[in-house]
Amino acid sequence: MNNYYIKRILSAIFTLFIIGTLTFFMMKLMPGGPFARERPLAPEILAQLEEKYHLNDPIWKQYIDYMIGMIKFDFGYSYRELGVSVTEQIILKFPVSLRLGALATLFVIVIGIPIGIVSALKQNTWVDQLAMFIATIGVTIPGFVVATLYVSIFAGSLQWVDATDLDHWSSYIGPVLALSFYSLSFVSRLTRSSMLEILRQDYMRTARANGLSKVRVLYKHALKNALIPVVTYLGPMFAAVITGSFVIEKVFSLGGIGRYYVDSVGNRDYTMIMGVTMFYAAIYIVMVLLVDIAYSWIDPRIRLGKKQGD
């Protein structure tokens, strides 16, 4: 088992290395420089800037410097935010996205899973139909529509909340809802179908026949197995929501990293793009690792790495 994790961690590091290399060279191939302006900069100034950012070094040297910096979590200075390092920017902006993403994930777990379970148990009743109707809308309406509607209704027409600024608990409702609506709907549908499948299994009937209470059967046998696909989904989803959503952060005008990341692409802020890409990649890889660990808690067969009778 230890070998398994060591192998996983090594392959994660290798993946990061590949991503870093690819990003670096793709960035170099991108047309248009970071110092492109409506009025081109004076050649002396351009030379100064290139010197400062080591852009006049040979490509291989830039690459090596970059990779060494990466190991030290030093991605250099942003080309746009004068005098601010990429690491500082990440430290400044990531918490906003993390907070929203964490709340959205919590929301998905606390609301989405129970809805799925109830729907499965009350299959084909009005409760199930209503829940699945809303969930179907949820997976078809994009987050930015939810966000825009929310702003125009609750901040505009009704004026119940402030459209921007996370300075009051109520201002979290909109962004969290918009961020989680799709996943919430998806998770409740996933939980429902997964539950239904388990409920039809023979061992469920056997367990009941053996005299176990309904609650115990559902809890001990059904739920546990039904949650495996949900957990598989939650890991990458968590990584996706905590790294911020460009659209939602833009609609609610939040200083998160998602908006900043996309803007930095438009600005050709090379160091920022590469730094955040690596940061995202690392988060994603860590989440996938955590999901694997979570599996082994839920299902011992995975931990033991071989099939075993239930």
Binding site: A36, E38, E81, T164, F252
Partner: protein, 547 residues
């Protein structure tokens, strides 16, 4: 399963902790006069010397003040109480008032000298350093471009409250230029405490000299300005606090405006504009000193014929475009927009007339005639052959809904009037700039805004070899007129040459003028006394907010 529940509980608790650490800061009823202003995007910098963008410029105009302050084209004394220009127009002397920095220390002539030299120094890498060329200060051009010694720049401080500047040529707009943010003073101690302009965003370090000073700055979210007690004219500053938001999505900002959470918006969603123009007294339109146009690639043999260029220019309905854009733009019939006043007090653009360029569809027939003549002159059998030759000509623009809309209207107009099928292509801004500069295009969108109150600021870009001469047009007579206009010591001659220069430009039409830019604002009617400089910066130094 218990373990799973345990993990879940742990997750719940940790999230709850994360959520709760965010303090709720309910704002209580405030007595002071507060202005809520959406600045737009988070400015790259608010260091006057480094800034090159209008959002930064808007903030700087509140936090700093130059020798003079310009509001609505009128020059008011700023840190300079008075000034005079020598008889030959080559020496300008400013007399400074005794004023203070926001930390209470004295602001002297040396502060200006330090700031200006910092702006010229290539090591500072200021985006606006090019503007020194247009100040005509002796030695400035060399200092910025040719490694000239900063000590050779002829600006001096005979005493603590006098600045003397020597010019190469009389420069009528020199004093008004001093209102521009690049020429505002910065405090050396502060600048050195936070390199690369960081000082200006750090409330702990920043030292300024304007009506307001920075008290908070949250990247990507907003900033807070408070009244600067040390400002020389603090008595006439009414607003106590300005809350500036960085909301770059127009619809969100507009929602906040209608909800009363914002008092000033720099833009509005385009869908709202026509309704607002018609109905809202809170909607304001100002002309901007700039022009939207299309470049012909003059190195392309296809566009050598002036009649063809003229036909294409005539075959566009500018009024229809401006109507669709509906944000106060004015159809362009020249390259210099209205707002520049000549030596006799006349508006430059008005004096120029329209050069026969139609603002509407009135010259479509003439366009067809010219097109046929061009076909013959270019050696084509008939107009149809030229139509074939032009088929597939690419009109290039940088990716944006607005540019796309205009390009589509031009495309449609050329199709209907002349029968030409052009193709539209868009590129990302950074890529587009390279393509255009390298001349890898046939017809490309252009836009030019000037930063000083002289038509030369627009016309000069078409001199041979100018870095911004995107059509790569070259005309000796034009070059000579522009050179004469700059070197003359007589203001009448200066304008005479500029008039003649634009005559040539509009006769040759290396560019198709489309419209003159405009600036729009939405400002609540309870905000009064605000101003705007002709160069485009908002001014709240005398504003009031009476909700």
């Amino acid at each position: 399963m218990k373990k799973f529940l345990l993990v879940l509980t742990a997750l719940v608790i940790s999230f709850a902790v994360v959520a709760c650490t965010e303090q709720s800061t309910d704002t209580t009823e405030q007595q002071p006069m507060i202005l809520n202003w959406n600045i737009g995007a988070d400015p790259q910098t608010i260091d006057p010397t480094l800034n090159g963008a209008s959002d930064g410029g808007d903030v700087i105009n509140q936090t700093f003040e130059g020798l003079v302050r310009e509001v609505g084209g009128v020059i008011y004394p700023g840190i300079a109480e008075s000034w005079e220009t020598s008889e030959d127009g080559l020496t300008v002397t400013f007399h400074l008032r005794e004023s203070q920095w926001s930390d209470g220390t004295a602001l002297t002539a040396d502060d200006f000298i330090y700031s200006w030299l910092r702006g010229m120094d290539p090591a500072t890498a200021s985006e606006y350093s090019w503007i020194w060329e247009y100040t005509n200060i002796v030695g400035a051009l060399e200092a910025v471009y040719d490694g000239g010694d900063l000590n050779d720049v002829e600006i001096s401080a005979p005493d603590d409250y006098t600045i003397e500047v020597n010019l190469l040529y009389p420069t009528p707009y020199f004093v008004s230029l001093m209102a521009f943010y690049h020429f505002m003073p910065v405090n050396q101690t502060a600048v050195e405490a936070g390199a690369e302009g960081i000082w200006a965003k750090d409330p702990e370090i920043v030292v300024c000299n304007g009506p307001f000073m920075l008290s908070e700055y949250e990247a990507g979210v907003g900033l807070t300005l408070v009244k600067n007690p040390y400002y020389w004219n603090a008595e006439e500053v009414y607003i106590d606090q300005i809350n500036g938001d960085f909301i770059d999505l127009e619809t969100t900002a507009y929602v906040k405006y209608t909800a009363g959470d914002l008092d000033v918006l720099p833009t509005v969603p385009s869908a709202m504009v026509s309704a607002l123009i018609a109905e809202s007294p809170e909607f304001h339109v100002f002309p901007l000193l700039g022009t939207y146009y299309y470049n012909f690639n003059m190195d392309d043999p296809m566009f050598e014929n002036v009649k063809l260029r003229t036909a294409l220019t005539y075959a566009i309905d500018r009024s229809a475009i401006v109507e669709v854009l509906a944000a106060g733009q004015v159809p362009a019939t020249g390259f210099v927009p209205g707002g520049f006043i000549d030596n006799e007090g006349n508006d430059f653009a008005e004096e120029c007339g329209d050069y026969g360029i139609p603002t509407d569809d009135s010259k479509f027939d003439e366009a067809v005639t010219l097109f046929a003549e061009a076909a013959t002159e270019m050696g084509y059998a008939d107009a149809a052959a030229l139509i074939d030759a032009l088929e597939g000509t690419v009109v290039l623009y940088n990716t944006s809904e607005g540019h796309k809309l205009i390009a589509e209207m031009v495309q449609e107009s050329w199709r209907q009037v002349l029968g030409i099928e052009v193709v539209l292509q868009n590129q990302d801004w950074a890529v587009f700039q390279d393509t255009r500069e390298n001349g890898d295009y046939e017809i490309a969108r252009g836009g030019w805004l000037t930063d000083f109150m002289d038509p030369a600021g627009l016309l000069a870009i078409f001199t041979t070899g100018n870095a911004y001469n995107d059509p790569n047009w070259s005309n000796e007579e034009f070059d000579q007129l522009m050179a004469d206009a700059q070197s003359t010591t007589d203001i009448a001659t200066h304008f005479e040459k500029l008039y003649a220069a634009q005559d040539i430009l509009m006769a040759e039409l290396p560019v198709i003028p489309v419209y003159y830019y405009a600036d729009i604002y939405l400002i609540k009617d309870y905000v009064t006394g605000w101003g705007r400089s002709v160069l485009g910066s908002l001014d709240f130094s005398h504003a009031r907010v009476d909700r």
